[in-house]
Symmetry: C2
């Protein structure tokens, strides 16, 4: 049987969170929002310890959210960043987010797939919390990224801030590992 479609849908606990409009004005607040999504994703058992959110850069209005849904959807592309950026595109009705001047907050540095996905999305700014090494420390692979991923994105017109609320993000990663959360990597 050849499949003809696939859908990625936010889990019910996350949909319920989105009833009221949300706004986060500072980088720190946006980072904490993404990290909180990662923490709740663990609590609800809906995926890996990663969260992401897309905001209007100037106003801080929430545009889209994402959490890692690889295990619950059965799709290896369902990383938090891909989910959040795709939902932003769905909400705005275009594959190019550049004209909207948006900012992506991600609870951990993007892997190599998400680095490409970030660039193709046209999102103009990225806030990352945990570092690559923090993610690898609990056993997840991040892939063959460029030596300086921040420079790679900046050269292509995307602003990058790293280490924003890094300690809080590390605490969530450690909680996942300590709780026996599944560490899945390619072909293992």
């Amino acid at each position: 049987m050849v499949a003809e479609s696939f859908e990625i849908r936010l889990p019910p606990w996350l949909s319920a969170r989105l009833v009221a409009p949300l706004q986060a004005t500072s980088a720190s607040e946006r980072a904490r929002f993404a990290i909180d999504l990662a923490a709740r994703n663990i609590e609800h058992g809906t995926g890996g310890p990663f969260g992401a959110a897309v905001f209007q850069r100037a106003s801080g209005k929430l545009v889209a959210v994402g959490v890692n849904l690889v295990l619950s959807t059965g799709l290896s592309c369902a990383h938090a960043e891909v989910v959040a950026l795709s939902l932003a595109q769905r909400a705005l009705g275009t594959p190019d987010l550049a004209p909207f001047d948006l900012e992506l907050a991600t609870s951990a540095e993007p892997c190599w797939m998400c680095l490409g996905a970030i660039h193709w999305s046209g999102v103009r700014s990225v806030i990352a919390s945990a570092r690559d090494e923090d993610v690898r420390a609990i056993g997840f692979d991040e892939g063959a990224k460029p030596a300086d991923w921040t420079a790679t994105l900046r050269e292509r017109g995307t602003a990058v801030a790293i280490d924003v609320e890094r300690d809080a993000a590390i605490a969530v990663l450690r909680r996942y590992a300590a709780s026996g959360g599944e560490i899945y990597n390619a072909g293992e």
Copy 2:
């Protein structure tokens, strides 16, 4: 309005093609199948000039197909490889394709996002037709890929064959450019 789901669905002309079981035993035949999908995607006006297909490596039985659906879905992640690999995962019910020993044929070298997506999917072998430079020659960006993307995948356990039916793939890319097909890149 915050979106809660997105779906990627093959266009009707492609669904119709999948009624009969398909098999492609040689690398050349698998490559031509992916290139043919790219050509039909142009004819039907359903996306960019890129096609991909997933086969059982040993038998050549078709497992999944994909075409570039960025413009028709409004999602920048809807590259042919991501579509085909996700549909293979949907068909097989798992995010890890490694145990199934599958081969991905793609009408053009993967971009940086798809390189990561290929690795995370657990697909064990890749056949690529047009080269990065062929894709860039008609104006598409391929992103900041590793200097030798084939070595990067091989080191991680994925076999790679390049230039398989390259001329046929180049012809399709040129046909798209000559027909005035839209060249979309990030934030332009």
